[in-house]
């Protein structure tokens, strides 16, 4: 299928920077870059700024190594490299969330090394199992709001924030609908194309992206479902689907991704923000409705329970776990997770990835071997 909207959003997902520059020139709006995960884009949007998620670079690491040791996670290093070397003049400011040691240090290094007129860290609670975390995140989100207001020299009204929330809710809802269609039939939209829809929403102005999705949805609905695709169904687990060729490989192997716990996937589009009451409190509330995220502690065996639930709910045949090199949090989860999935009888394959991975032929061979082992070939 060659759909115009899908193609255009795919292009943006793969190279968002020129688009962002044009957008800034046309609208005069400033671009605020934020790293993963959980920065409330609605707040940046309501401040009249353009939120843009920094998602690393697949290009070579040159300068970041001198600032952040080689055993720091691949995403942090490539985020830093992107702004140090490749996109040095794109951003007017930054919001860096902290969830672990790496992001905490990254925040300090970034503040010191990247000249900008606006820098704020966003100190996300690293536990979500007790009431104190809610009040803390509310305080912290209000602090971020005040900081954005100071930068733009104007107040963010409840009405403006409410409008932004409605817009982002619409966008998330449309993406979830398309995900549902894809779950019914992988031929409706491929893995790479679908996840690029999500990724492009992290770059494009939300109004534009939502408008495109509104046009796209009926076109996709017309196609559903052919029932022709009898391929395997996978849940993809991890933080990010990098390098992007991973999704292309799954497409080539006719494997349909029916669920995920990725930051550049479900975590970005799951759950709406309530449109009742205090909008900042509503943004905070959404955070606590999200599924588990490895660095953020919650009770129970949350990562495993969530993945088992996704597999059962969407009738998946197995889990492809994307292990991002030197992402410490995953390193601690994985041995128990592998054992747990073995006990649950759920096939899981752990694929080591990094932003600068180049051995794609090997990746394909491994995923193919995993798929064959599930099919009993």
């Amino acid at each position: 299928m060659e759909n115009r909207i899908v193609r255009e959003l795919s292009d943006i997902a793969n190279n968002p920077y020129e688009m962002a520059r044009r957008q800034r020139a046309a609208s005069g709006q400033k671009i605020i870059g934020s790293t993963l995960a959980d920065v409330p884009e609605e707040l940046i949007h309501a401040a009249g700024l353009l939120p843009f998620t920094i998602l690393g670079t697949n290009r070579p690491i040159r300068r970041a190594s001198a600032l952040l040791p080689d055993n720091a996670c691949s995403l942090s290093r490539s985020d830093l490299e992107l702004v140090l070397t490749y996109e040095t003049d794109l951003f007017d400011g930054f919001v860096l969330p902290q969830v672990d040691d790496t992001t905490q240090h990254l925040s300090d290094i970034w503040r010191r090394k990247i000249p900008t007129s606006f820098f704020e860290c966003y100190l996300i609670p690293r536990q979500v199992d007790r009431p104190s975390a809610r009040q803390w995140l509310l305080d912290e989100t209000n602090r971020l709001k005040a900081s954005l207001e100071k930068f733009t020299d104007r107040k963010i009204s409840n009405d403006e924030l409410h409008k932004s929330i409605v817009l982002y809710n619409d966008n998330r809802r449309l993406l979830r609908k398309i995900y549902d269609l894809k779950r019914q039939d992988g031929d409706i939209i491929g893995n790479r194309a679908f996840f690029e829809l999500i990724k492009s929403s992290m770059f494009l102005p939300e109004e534009t992206h939502t408008r495109e999705l509104r046009h796209l949805l009926p076109q996709l609905e017309k196609k559903a479902p052919s029932g022709a695709n009898k391929g395997l169904r996978f849940v993809v687990a991890g933080i990010v689907w990098e390098p992007p060729a991973v999704m292309t490989i799954l497409d080539e192997l006719k494997i349909n991704v029916v669920g995920d716990d990725l930051c550049t996937g479900t975590r970005h589009i799951a759950n709406d923000v309530s449109t009742d009451g205090d909008p900042v409190a509503a943004l905070v509330e959404r955070h606590f409705k999200k599924g588990p995220f490895s660095p953020i502690h919650n009770r129970g065996n949350r990562i495993q329970e969530n993945l088992v639930d996704l597999v059962r709910r969407y009738g998946a045949d197995g889990i492809l776990y994307l292990h991002l090199k030197f992402f410490e949090s995953q390193d601690y989860d994985l041995p128990d997770l592998k054992q747990g999935m073995g006990e649950e009888g759920i096939p899981m394959y752990v694929l080591d990835t990094e932003y600068q991975t180049t051995h794609l032929a090997q990746v394909k061979t491994r995923v193919q071997a995993f798929a064959e082992s599930i099919r009993g070939e």
Partner: protein
């Protein structure tokens, strides 16, 4: 060496006895229906002590495994289970001990409760999650957001951490079925305050010239402030230690080494399995490492008039949880107070929390002091990442540089 005062045990003997008593208590805990909590070296342990829950520090046990050269073996056992060598050597030693049951002290009691304070590092949360699953014991993540230099944020952070302390108290009451005693907390906090002050006084003896103590003394004697904080024994111990050093070294002008020439700062944790050798090697150059921010992690300053607030403030503002510039200011304060003229910065593969900002820290310290830096990479606990030749060559070159600069 002088003889000790009659009737008073020397501190070395006292340390041995305190350590034996502590681990003996812990080993008997479950037979005596007492509760055991695993906790982290930087954590509000006063709450456990006040509630008669025995705090156990898997990190300390791991240091013992490392200094007994057990880590490679322990780590290899868990690498087979899929844990990577990138992880903290404390965590690997501990998980390896769980796997093989091998321990220098006959093991640790199983936990009834775990607490991970992330002011120290994030790794502990993930390591303790593994233990929490293994033992089916609840894990309390004592979350301390980075103590950024923003007044409003700091007020909010302290409010958050105070709320967490009350949540922890409730969790402890639920664990033991016993009401928490706030008067007892104040009493425990007074012991902590006094012990921490004396501990800091002990560390600050390094400001003397020649210095009567070096960082290796600090690394040995810090064990007590880590696991006996909040007890009268810790106060007695550090009082004895300070008195002994003043009497036997300071009063007589005896330094750690004769002809002290280079007074060094050390950044990061030590290379535990090499620190004695490092001391000897450095002495041959007339060099002595005097201090680090790491050993000062337990130089708390508790204000007992508001126990909850002072616990929140002290445990949130540890050097590993402040912004780089503030961390640098604290290091610079040591450079100034101890009159340091050399700087060894260890990039510790094991410890992301302390190491990841170190390149930036180096830049600040060099700019502000003008003192050249010896930077080397290794691992605090895993000899497989240590190169003897490299370290020796670098040290030799470094002291040649210092001499050339006529420091």
């Amino acid at each position: 060496m002088n003889e000790s005062t009659p009737g008073k045990p020397r501190v070395k003997e006292l340390m041995k006895k305190l350590t034996q008593d502590y681990y003996g208590d812990a080993a008997r805990a479950h037979n005596e229906d007492r509760f055991v909590a695993y906790t982290t070296a930087v954590s509000p342990v006063e709450l456990f002590v006040a509630h008669d829950v025995i705090p156990i520090y898997p990190e300390n046990h791991s240091v013992m495994c490392i200094t007994k050269r057990m880590t490679t073996r322990l780590s290899t056992a868990i690498e087979k289970k899929g844990y990577t060598t990138h992880l903290c050597a404390y965590a690997r030693s501990d998980l390896g001990y769980r796997e093989l049951g091998e321990s220098p002290i006959g093991g640790l009691p199983d936990p009834d409760f775990l607490l991970a304070c992330n002011a120290q590092c994030f790794t502990l949360t993930k390591w303790f999650e593994v233990l929490s699953r293994r033992y089916g014991a609840p894990l309390f993540v004592f979350d301390t957001p980075q103590y950024i230099r923003n007044k409003k944020a700091r007020r909010n952070i302290i409010r958050y951490v105070e709320a967490e302390i009350y949540e922890l108290i409730t969790a402890l009451e639920n664990l033991t079925g016993k009401k928490f005693d706030y008067d007892r907390l104040r009493e425990v906090l007074i012991y902590s305050r006094d012990a921490c002050r004396l501990y800091k006084e002990f560390l600050d003896l390094a400001a003397h010239k020649p210095s009567p103590v070096n960082i290796f003394d600090a690394l040995i004697h810090m064990a007590i402030i880590v696991y006996l904080r909040g007890t009268p024994q810790a106060v007695q111990y550090y009082q004895g230690l300070v008195d002994e050093i003043r009497r036997e070294k300071v009063a007589q002008g005896i330094g750690v080494i004769p002809n002290e020439r280079f007074r060094l700062y050390w950044e990061n944790l030590p290379v535990w399995f090499k620190f004695r050798e490092h001391a000897n090697l450095l002495a041959s150059y007339g060099a002595v490492i005097l201090t680090s921010l790491y050993v000062h992690s337990w130089s708390y300053d508790f204000d007992v008039s508001d126990p909850i607030r002072t616990l929140a403030e002290n445990y949130t503002s540890v050097f590993s949880n402040v912004e780089l510039e503030e961390r640098a200011e604290r290091a610079l304060d040591l450079f100034q107070r101890y009159d340091l003229n050399g700087n060894i910065m260890f990039l510790n593969r094991s410890c992301k929390a302390v190491t990841f900002g170190e390149h930036e820290l180096r830049e600040i310290l060099t700019q502000r002091t003008g003192i050249p830096v010896l930077l080397f990479e290794s691992d605090m606990g895993d000899p497989r990442f240590y190169s003897e030749v490299q370290v020796k060559t670098r040290l030799e070159a470094y002291f040649e540089t210092l001499e050339r600069l006529n420091v």
